[in-house]
């Protein structure tokens, strides 16, 4: 898979605007949909399932992950020509670990409650498989700008799924959205919390571990459904046309 990606985005840079768009749109599409780290690559599942029990938690970890992805992709892209294959993995891991720790410290300082809630899953961003996968598959083969953009897009793709799953679970489990908004946006933002279903019984399954698995299953099924529909539509479009080689 990695090979095909790097093939698509070769090193030749003609800095015209159209070529920029041509080069960067697929990266964005890949990150958000076609090669989404969760929906397609099935990587980074641990944090996804562990912290998606509310929107705010999801958002918090998602943002941290985006930051790590961008920074680590940038660093790795910079050093990509120096590293020898046998220590490639350890070097990447060290870089990622450094970035993560730095971000962890910042969160510890400025988003204390969020830091406490996310707990072990912040340092565990290091082993979030999608980060090392991006380092290997993309950053180590692409230019700085593209690597950074890829980091952003992959991170966004990850966060998007994380937040959607968080919203799903929070809504079904507790009937609210954005509960505890203050731990992220400060005390003034309590109002953000929306009680969508008043007097809701609460469906605990959604909040508990099994609910995380099942929620993701339904998200994936939805993605499959959309992809299938797209494919069917494409086929329908294609078939009346004569075969051109």
């Amino acid at each position: 898979m990695s090979e095909t990606i790097s093939d698509t985005f070769g090193e030749d840079n003609i800095e015209t605007q159209t070529s920029l768009i041509r080069e960067y749109t697929p990266i964005a599409k890949d990150g958000l949909w076609n090669n989404n780290p969760i929906l397609v690559q099935m990587l980074g599942l641990c944090p996804l399932l562990a912290v998606s029990n509310s929107v705010i938690n999801a958002l918090g970890l998602g943002l941290a992950t985006i930051a790590v992805l961008i920074l680590s992709n940038m660093c790795i892209s910079l050093i990509r020509n120096i590293v020898r294959p046998e220590i490639r993995l350890p070097v990447f891991v060290i870089i990622i670990a450094s970035v993560v720790t730095a971000i962890e410290l910042v969160m510890h300082a400025y988003f204390h409650e969020l830091y406490l809630i996310l707990g072990i899953f912040i340092p565990l961003i290091v082993t979030n498989c999608s980060i090392i996968a991006r380092a290997e598959a993309f950053a180590s083969r692409n230019t700085f700008g593209k690597a950074a953009f890829d980091g952003l897009m992959m991170g966004l793709g990850f966060t998007l799924v994380l937040v959607v799953l968080g919203a799903m679970r929070e809504l079904i489990g507790l009937g609210t959205l954005f509960a505890n908004a203050h731990i992220m946006f400060g005390e003034g933002m309590q109002w953000l919390t929306i009680t969508v279903i008043p007097d809701y019984h609460g469906f605990l399954l959604a909040i508990l571990p099994p609910g995380a698995f099942m929620g993701l299953a339904f998200l994936l099924a939805l993605k499959n459904y959309i992809s299938l529909k797209q494919k069917a539509a494409k086929k329908r479009q294609k078939s009346p046309l004569p075969e051109t080689v």
Partner: protein
């Protein structure tokens, strides 16, 4: 604080030494995966996969350069087997058309002029005959790749389906299943056949 940096540098250096050692001590032999993949390909050598024969395609798959669904002669079966071997998802075959059963080449003997072009085209030497002699296809060797059809100057090579006989007849996969909409009609066919033969 400086200690921290130093400690980690020391640790990393130690680790680097170790890995440097490992890089040499390790030898990763040419991956046996290629062999395994090659063994799964039908060896028709037809090149429909866009590679020069089955082995190059196997190498490409092993290197991650080609998807597993490019071999039409192998069909779904091969894709499935490759997916199992490589632990990846099954992809639908690239080709839309489905091959109908095995075929072999036959040379229409009256037309053949003995030009040997087909001999040269055949990747598995399944055609025998010397120049100006009539050529013939050894049925048991022919892989049905059709490569000999195009070069023949007199169009005397035809691909024919392998004849169905009692000895190569196979029990079909049962279709008599509630999920199969035609299931209910399958066996009335038999009864009809019998009824017909009973009252001719």
């Amino acid at each position: 604080m400086l200690w921290g940096i130093l400690a980690l540098i020391a640790l990393a250096a130690f680790f680097g030494l170790l890995l440097g050692l490992a890089a040499i001590v390790f030898k990763v032999e040419s991956s046996p995966v290629v062999e395994q993949i090659d063994a799964l390909l039908p060896q028709t050598q037809c090149g429909q996969c866009s590679f020069a024969g089955c082995r190059p395609y196997a190498e490409a798959i092993a290197a991650g350069e080609a998807p597993i669904n490019l071999c039409p002669p192998g069909g779904e079966k091969t894709v499935q087997a490759l997916a199992d071997l490589l632990d990846v998802d099954v992809l639908p075959l690239e080709e839309d058309e489905v091959l109908e059963g095995p075929v072999v080449a036959v040379i229409i003997e009256d037309t053949c002029i003995g030009c040997t072009l087909c001999i040269q085209a055949c990747p598995v030497d399944a055609i025998v005959g010397a120049a100006k002699q009539m050529h013939t296809v050894i049925e048991s060797e022919c892989t049905g790749c059709e490569l000999c059809v195009a070069p023949c100057p007199v169009d005397c090579i035809e691909m024919i389906p392998v004849k169905k006989t009692i000895s190569n007849w196979r029990w079909p996969e049962p279709q008599y299943d509630v999920n199969n909409e035609q299931a209910a009609n399958i066996f009335t066919t038999i009864e009809k056949v019998l009824a017909e033969s009973t009252h001719p």
